[in-house]
Structures are given as structure tokens and as C-alpha cells.
């Protein structure tokens, strides 16, 4: 049975006859349809197209948000400039933006790694919490360790706890074929309540009615880069993690396999890639990254876990960041900093223009939708008049 249906026939034709030169006939066709626009699929989508499309999508986001602001009766210029001032206007706010971006980079990477492998880890939030729990667990278990060793041990503990929490979902997936989107989301709730239990029970600080842990000893604080800013080593860890992820995905056998199962799981298994092992491994890496985000927040900023610890929904924002960044590690850094800037600048905007800081959520949502649309749109191009057997068929016989 030969496999040319109607559309395949076109594809096949596109594949094998690309060399024939355009003829006079096409010119006539073009003259007959002077205004005929057509949408056609690109044979190849270059990475630069994707970049342009993303930039254009973000520009449209700005315009739409501007219109929204205008509707409330505020000048978009004022709104955006106060937003910018608050985010990057001076040294202090710029550094604070980097502080805010630190966990977002890590949870963004966590989502990007898993999504690249076609595993839909929506549990970054839960793994973030698990990371914080792991950090405090190590702190609690080994009080005698010298500071540098303790910090390393706590970071490892965070990564391991995050990985374990992700593994619960991945094992269910490979063993019983449960949908990982559902299990990871549900596990977010489980760990939330587990944390509540810890905070009101074994880990609750003495002499306080609040659900919170003791304040951690000062020798567990992640060192800060500057005296006048909260920017801590966690940011460096996040950048190193991004470099690690990039290297792993592009340059290692394991990353090759992760990408392979993301592109075509069936062919991957035919070529001997153990997809179950790869899924468990990639989820572990993903969970470890989210777990590190939890450690960074705990050791760099809060120094105790309380019931507000997960309130910023760092894990969920990471998913949006990963998608807006089109799953590229470097893009994740840029988008995470931009999103952190939005959050950071929103307070300033609210004070000087009265626009509620919640607008930030709208911006994030609109940007996400438009970037996803752009990702599809850049696979097509709009052409006028007739089409020629053209340059894009260069790869064919």
C-alpha cells in the first residue's frame, strides 16, 4: 500500500519535484489574481523567525495593555514608565528585580526541561515547596555541620526532595500510564497540606501561635553580593543551572534522549531509548530545579518557612515563563527577569498612577497567549499572488 492520500500527495510532490524552474504560466496566474493573498506553510521554520515572532507578540502585548490602561483613563506612557522605573529605574530596584527573578528562573527551567521531553510537569509549585521542606529537613537533621558544608547539604536536600516529589508523578506515569498533568497538579495540594501539618506540628516554632518554623541560624544564610541589596547567591545558582540545562540538553547523550522522546516517543523506543527511564530522569531533573528554587527563597530571603511560603505561586509562574521563552534556557533567564520586573514595578505603578498591581497578571496572561499564537503563526507565511517553486524547496531532490 503506497501512502499518498490527498495531502500526502502534495507533500510528496513538494519533496520530489522542487527542482523544476518556475514557468511563464505562473506569471499568468499571478496576473490573473493580482490581489490573491494566500497563507502557506513554511517548509522550514528557522530559529530566527521564532525569535522575531516572539518579539512581535510581546510588542502587541504592550499595545493591548496600553489600550487597557487607556480605558481606565491613565496615560499608557505614565503607566509603563512608572512600571519601568519601579523595575529597573535605579540600582536598588534593578537588583531587587534580579532577587525576584531568582526562583522564577529555576522554576522556569524546571518546566522547560520537562516540556522539552514532552512530559507535562505542572507540579513545579509542589516541587518548589518540597525543596523548601528538604532544605529545612537537612537543617533540622544535621545541626552540627559547619556552615559551608551545611549549605551544600541543604541545597542537595532541596534538589533531592524536589526530585522525589516529581518522581511520584513520573513513576505513576510510566507504571500505570496516569496523566502527569493531573497527578502533578494534585500532588501540589498534597504537599501544601503536608507542609501545613509540619508547620502546625513537628516543625512549629515554640512559643508562638503562628504556623511557622524557627528562624534558621544565621550561618545558613546564602551570602549576598552587595551590602545594600538582598541579591544573594541564589541568583548565581540559577544562572549556573541555566547553563547546566543548556549543556545537558544540547551536548549530552541524556539530553539527546530527552529531546528525542519529546519529538517522537515511538521512534525513540524503536531506536532503543528506554522511554520510561528517560521520563523518570527528566522529571527528576525538573523537580530538582524547582526544589532548588525553594531552597534559594528559604536560605536567601525568608530564613523560615511559614504558611505564606508558597503564596507567590512561583511554580506556576515558571510554567508561563518557560512557554513564553519557547523552552530555551537563555530565554527563560530573560523572561524570568522581565516577569520579575513586572511584579517589582507594579507597586510603583500602583502608587503613582493608581492602576492596581494585579494588572501584572493580565500582562502575563496576554503575553503567554500571544507568544503561543506567534509560535504557530511563524510556521506559515503570507504570500501575494501565485507561488513559485521557490528557494524554500532547497533541501529536496
Amino acid at each position: 500500500m503506497s501512502d499518498s492520500g490527498t495531502s500526502q500527495q502534495a507533500d510528496e510532490a513538494a519533496g520530489s519535484a522542487g527542482g523544476s524552474p518556475p514557468r511563464g504560466r505562473d506569471l499568468r496566474t499571478a496576473l490573473m489574481q493580482p490581489d490573491g493573498w494566500r497563507l502557506e506553510r513554511r517548509l522550514e521554520v528557522r530559529p530566527t523567525y521564532e525569535l522575531y515572532a516572539t518579539v512581535i507578540a510581546l510588542a502587541i502585548t504592550a499595545v493591548l495593555i496600553g489600550l487597557l490602561v487607556l480605558l481606565v483613563g491613565v496615560s499608557p506612557f505614565d503607566a509603563f514608565s512608572s512600571l519601568y522605573e519601579g523595575a529597573f529605574g535605579d540600582r536598588e530596584s534593578a537588583l531587587e528585580t534580579l532577587v525576584q527573578s531568582t526562583p522564577l528562573i529555576l522554576t522556569g527551567l524546571a518546566a522547560a526541561v520537562a516540556f522539552r521531553a514532552g512530559v507535562w510537569n505542572i507540579g513545579g509549585q509542589g516541587q518548589f515547596i518540597a525543596g523548601a521542606i528538604g532544605t529545612f529537613f537537612v537543617y533540622d537533621m544535621f545541626p552540627g555541620l559547619p556552615a559551608p558544608l551545611l549549605i551544600v547539604a541543604m541545597l542537595v536536600g532541596a534538589a533531592v526532595f524536589g526530585a522525589i516529589w516529581a518522581t511520584v508523578a513520573s513513576v505513576l506515569l510510566v507504571r500505570y500510564n496516569t496523566n502527569e498533568i493531573l497527578t502533578t497538579v494534585m500532588l501540589n495540594f498534597v504537599i501544601d497540606y503536608f507542609l501545613s501539618w509540619l508547620l502546625s506540628g513537628v516543625w512549629q516554632a515554640s512559643n508562638t501561635p503562628y504556623s511557622q518554623t524557627e528562624r534558621m541560624a544565621e550561618n545558613t544564610y546564602l551570602p549576598r553580593f552587595f551590602d545594600d541589596s538582598r541579591l544573594h547567591w541564589g541568583f548565581a545558582i540559577a544562572l549556573i543551572a541555566a547553563a547546566f540545562v543548556h549543556f545537558m540538553m544540547r551536548r549530552t547523550s541524556m539530553g539527546f534522549e530527552f529531546r528525542a522522546i519529546g519529538v517522537n516517543k515511538r521512534a525513540a523506543s524503536y531506536k532503543g531509548i528506554n522511554t520510561a527511564v528517560s521520563i523518570v530522569a527528566v522529571m527528576a531533573v525538573s523537580g530538582a530545579l524547582a526544589g532548588l528554587a525553594g531552597a534559594g527563597e528559604l536560605l536567601g530571603l525568608h530564613h523560615r518557612i511559614n504558611f505564606e511560603f508558597g503564596e507567590q505561586q512561583i511554580g506556576f509562574t515558571g510554567i508561563i515563563i518557560a512557554l513564553v521563552a519557547r523552552l530555551h534556557p537563555v530565554g527563560v533567564i530573560a523572561v524570568a527577569i522581565a516577569f520579575a520586573g513586572l511584579v517589582n514595578g507594579a507597586t510603583q505603578m500602583q502608587i503613582s498612577t493608581g492602576i492596581p498591581a494585579a494588572l501584572v497578571t493580565v500582562i502575563e496572561g496576554v503575553a503567554l497567549v500571544l507568544v503561543l499564537v506567534a509560535a504557530v503563526a511563524c510556521r506559515y507565511r503570507l504570500r501575494r499572488g501565485a507561488v513559485h517553486a521557490d528557494e524554500s524547496a532547497e533541501g529536496s531532490e
Binding site: 500500500m1 519535484a17 514557468r23 496566474t29 490573473m32 522550514e44 533541501g395 529536496s396
Partner: protein, 515 residues
């Protein structure tokens, strides 16, 4: 050769004038002229990608031509959809059937016959029974279509089209799913229909069918009409030359030589499939080094399960598979590959390639942990580049660079990537499924030549194909797979197309066949 009917000259029923259709990157039909006469069987002959199906889809209203026009009985025809075509009296049976499997034959036939308030099946039943009686076809009108054989489903599809009262019937590669006997049966009935006044347009790339059936033939190459000829005036060789644009080797060169040890030994394996179709039910075979064992069979008789079992994607519930001295019955794919097994899957895009990866990444797919390409888990990019350049040159893969995205390449080049990857490890067993499906003649010749080279090198080759010509050309021994078993093995000289066909159809039981 058949009788040529008396067709009055000038009695054109369907005419395409200068029809042009352009798809992104390619002109599928370039100023194509076609004239089909009333009451003839007219073949559209061409290789894959020559533009046959595109032209037929234009005649059937699936596509609108970018330029040119179609005339029916001398009147310009403006089709916006297949519905328009059917109303104008033109019907088409596509290669992929458009049937609803859980519904009965009658129900499938009346689907789309118009918006009536009440569904009256008695009229349909009467006509259906009449039709089957006329043409000597035995199908129960109340049978569930999903349970019919592929050949029977084709009959339902054809009758469904005729039920609309069409005058012109277009068939797209109708013989691809049939046994040789099924083809004879189809041709007998098509001739009868023609003699009763139906005009038939048949799309094919098989020369033998053109010669056997058609009155006239229009040959297409790269979207252009090479010519239209009376079938009685030409031979297969002439048509082949028109189709390809040069002389074609009708036989592959294959030297006789000795075979070696048994490399693959399959003993009584059972493997159930989820759907029940295509299960293995006690299949045994062996392949020796230096021989090509060709497995003929209608698709759905266990070929996929056999492929999966040998490469280790699925494991038999019963029986054993041995490769050389190792028992690989339950070995996972990467362990099987370590035994020196190369595999070329039937669906190269779904099973063989990462379409979003670069060419070089696909060339090392499966070997990403091999010592040659990775140290301590880190890919050796210099070595991968070197290997990719070597493979591209050696296997004549046409790509702008090794970093090109694989999805931009043509089918022939995709298959060459797989061949390059699979043959690079100097395998001792190669299992190939449908190796030339969808490829043009040049690429097919290339793939077949490579397989023969490997066989001459002493490799055991297990070839599964639905193309019987290919099986006969390449095989040292031919086996027939039917309903998950192999009960007939013969040397090509000792058997015939007809005999193979009987076993493919399951007509002949295993009695006395050579093991």
C-alpha cells in the same frame, strides 16, 4: 492484452485544459492537458509525486486549479467541493477509504445521499443486492464494515460512489491493498462496468496494470504530461521510459551465491495485538547469512507484530527468537541492536526518524551513547560531524547541510538517512519493512541495490513488502504471511505470482508446502 472498445473519436466526456496547481515549493500540475473519452478505462500513470492524485483531486473538486479549466461534455465545470463533482456525475474512491467501520454496508452506502426526513434502507438494499448479483460479488449488506476484508471494503467504497449515479469513476491506486487474485477480480468487474458505459479513470504507478486494463494511458512526470497513448500501441518498457525519463532496469542484478549460518531463528511465536488484527499465531521462520528472505502478504496479517517482535519493541507471549547465539525473545530494543540488528521500519516518519531533529542527529539516533559518539555521557560533536558528512556523501543524501532540519527533506532522502544509520554498524541482520513505499524509482532502485550489497556481504536480510514485484526481484526465498503464520516458503524460481497470491489470500491451507 485486452479488447479495445470502439470509442467514437471526439466523444470526449471529461477534458482538462492547461490545468495548473501549485503547492508551496512545487508545481504539482503544470499546464496539464487530459482528455477522457466516454466509456473508456483511462490510466493516469506516474511515479510518486508526479501529480496524478493532485490532478484527480482537481477533477473531483477537492482542489481548485490555480489556472486552466475542466470541461465536462464540453461545458466548463466549476467545482467547489466533491459534492459538486458528485452532482456533476464524477465520483472518486480514494486510496484511504472513507467508511464508517462500526456501521453496516447499507448504512455506509446511504451516508451522504441527501437530506431526507426518513431513512429508507429498502431501496438501498434492493439496489445493493442487484449490484452485487450483477457483478458476482458476495458481501452481506448487513455486515459491519469494520469486519470486512480490505478487498470487500473497497467494493463497498466503489458501490457507495456508484450509488450516487456517477458516470465517471476515479480510482486512486485501487490495487495496493489486494492480492493478485483480488486484482484480477477487480479488473474483470471494472471491464464489465466499462462495457456497460461507465467511464473509469484509474491512477496507478504499476505498469503491468496499465497494460492489463486500460484503453488509453496518460503519463505524468514531475507535474507535466509526458503524453497520452493507446495502450495497445505500447509495451511496458515504453511506458517505463515515459514515466521515468530514461531506461529502467526491469530486473535487479543479483548474483547467485552461497548462504551461511542461520542468523535469525524464530520459533513458534505468539503475539496478540490490541485490536486482534495483525496478531502472530505461531509464526516460525529462519534467515541465513547472505540470503534475503522476502515475506509477502496483505497488510494486517502480522507484519507489524513480526517487525516489533524482532527489534524488541514488543515481546511474544510464547515462543522464542534467537539472533545468532543469543536469545532475544524478551530483550529490549537496545539489547537487540547490540546483537548487530539493523531495522528499517515500515512507517519511516513515525517509527524511524525525529522530524524536528537535524540530519546529523538522526544519523546517530540510537547510537547517542555509543563509544564513538559520546564520552562520559557528553556528545563528541567533532566525531558526529565527521560521521554525518561521511554518511551524506556515501549514501548520496541530498541535503544542504548536516544541520538541516530533517522534515524539509524528501521521502527518498529520509529513507537514505535511515539506511545510512542502520548500515553504519555493519549489522549481521537487517529487517526491513516496506523499504521502497512512496519512493520514486531512482530512490527505490538505490535502496534495493543497497540491500543486495548487504546480502552479498553475508548479511541476513528479512524483507517484508506488499510489493510482490519487489519480493520476487530481491528474495532468495519467499515466505507468505497470512493471519499471523508463515506456512509457505519457496524459492522464487519454484513458485509463481499466482501461487503466492493464493497463500496470501489464505485460500490454500498449509498442506504439503515446503518448510
Amino acid at each position: 492484452m485486452d479488447t479495445t472498445p470502439v470509442t467514437a473519436p471526439g466523444n470526449d466526456i471529461l477534458v482538462a485544459e492547461e490545468v495548473t496547481k501549485v503547492f508551496p515549493g512545487v508545481i504539482a500540475n503544470d499546464a496539464v492537458n487530459l482528455n477522457v473519452r466516454r466509456g473508456e478505462i483511462h490510466c493516469l500513470l506516474g511515479e510518486n509525486g508526479a501529480g496524478k492524485t493532485t490532478l484527480a483531486d482537481i477533477l473531483y473538486g477537492v482542489y481548485r486549479p490555480d489556472d486552466g479549466r475542466v470541461l465536462l461534455n464540453g461545458e466548463p465545470l466549476d467545482l467547489h467541493s466533491p459534492r459538486d463533482a458528485i452532482e456533476a456525475g464524477i465520483g472518486m474512491v480514494h486510496q484511504h477509504f472513507e467508511l464508517v467501520p462500526p456501521m453496516s454496508v447499507i448504512e455506509n452506502v446511504v451516508i451522504g445521499t441527501g437530506a431526507k426526513q426518513w431513512l429508507d434502507l429498502s431501496e438501498a438494499r434492493r439496489r445493493l443486492e442487484e449490484f452485487f448479483a450483477d457483478y458476482d460479488v458476495e458481501i452481506d449488506p448487513d455486515a459491519e464494515v469494520g469486519r470486512l476484508s480490505v478487498g470487500e471494503q473497497q467494493w463497498v467504497e466503489i458501490f457507495k460512489t456508484l450509488y450516487f449515479g456517477v458516470e465517471i469513476l476515479i480510482l486512486d491506486e485501487p490495487t495496493a491493498v489486494l492480492t493478485p487474485q483480488g486484482v484480477d477480480e477487480l479488473f474483470r468487474i471494472l471491464r464489465q462496468m466499462r462495457d456497460e458505459g461507465l467511464t473509469i479513470i484509474l491512477i496507478t504507478h504499476k505498469l503491468r496494470e496499465v497494460i492489463a486494463l486500460s484503453d488509453r494511458v496518460t503519463v505524468l512526470r514531475r507535474g507535466e504530461v509526458v503524453g497520452t497513448v493507446n495502450t495497445a500501441d505500447v509495451e511496458q518498457r515504453d511506458l517505463a521510459r515515459m514515466m521515468v525519463g530514461r531506461d529502467v532496469l526491469m530486473q535487479a542484478d543479483k548474483a547467485q551465491h552461497d548462504t551461511g549460518e542461520v542468523v535469525l531463528k524464530i520459533d513458534d511465536i505468539h503475539l496478540a495485538s490490541d485490536t486482534g488484527r495483525g496478531s502472530l499465531k505461531g509464526l516460525s521462520l529462519d534467515v541465513r547469512g547472505g540470503e534475503i528472505l522476502g515475506i509477502a502478504g496483505v497488510s494486517g496479517n502480522g507484519q507489524n507484530a513480526l517487525f516489533d517482535a524482532v527489534v524488541g519493541v514488543r515481546h511474544p507471549e510464547q515462543g522464542t527468537i534467537r539472533i545468532a547465539d543469543a536469545d532475544t525473545t524478551h530483550a529490549p530494543p537496545h539489547k537487540v541492536a547490540l546483537q548487530g540488528v539493523a531495522s528499517v521500519p515500515g512507517d519511516r516518519i513515525a517509527q524511524g526518524l525525529m522530524m524536528d531533529f537535524s540530519v546529523k542527529e538522526n544519523l546517530i539516533l540510537g547510537n547517542q551513547r555509543a563509544r564513538r559518539f559520546a564520552r562520559a555521557g557528553v556528545l563528541n560533536r567533532a566525531e558526529i560531524d565527521r560521521f554525518a558528512d561521511e554518511s551524506i556523501e556515501h549514501f548520496e543524501i541530498k541535503t544542504p547541510s548536516a544541520s538541516q532540519t530533517t522534515s524539509t527533506l524528501s521521502g527518498g532522502n529520509l529513507q537514505k538517512i535511515i539506511m545510512a544509520r542502520e548500515l553504519s554498524g555493519e549489522p549481521r541482520l537487517i529487517i526491513v519493512h516496506q523499504p521502497t513505499r512512496g519512493l520514486d524509482i531512482a530512490a527505490s532502485e538505490y535502496v534495493r541495490r543497497r540491500l543486495i550489497e548487504e546480502r552479498d556481504r553475508g548479511v541476513a536480510v528479512l524483507l517484508m513488502s506488499e510489493d510482490l514485484d519487489e519480493i520476487f526481484q530481491l528474495s532468495d526465498r519467499i515466505a507468505v504471511i497470512y493471519d499471523g503464520r508463515i506456512d509457505y516458503v519457496a524459492e522464487p524460481e519454484a513458485t509463481s505470482l499466482e501461487e503466492i497470491g493464493l497463500y496470501m489470500a489464505g485460500v490454500v491451507e498449509a498442506a504439503g508446502a515446503a518448510p
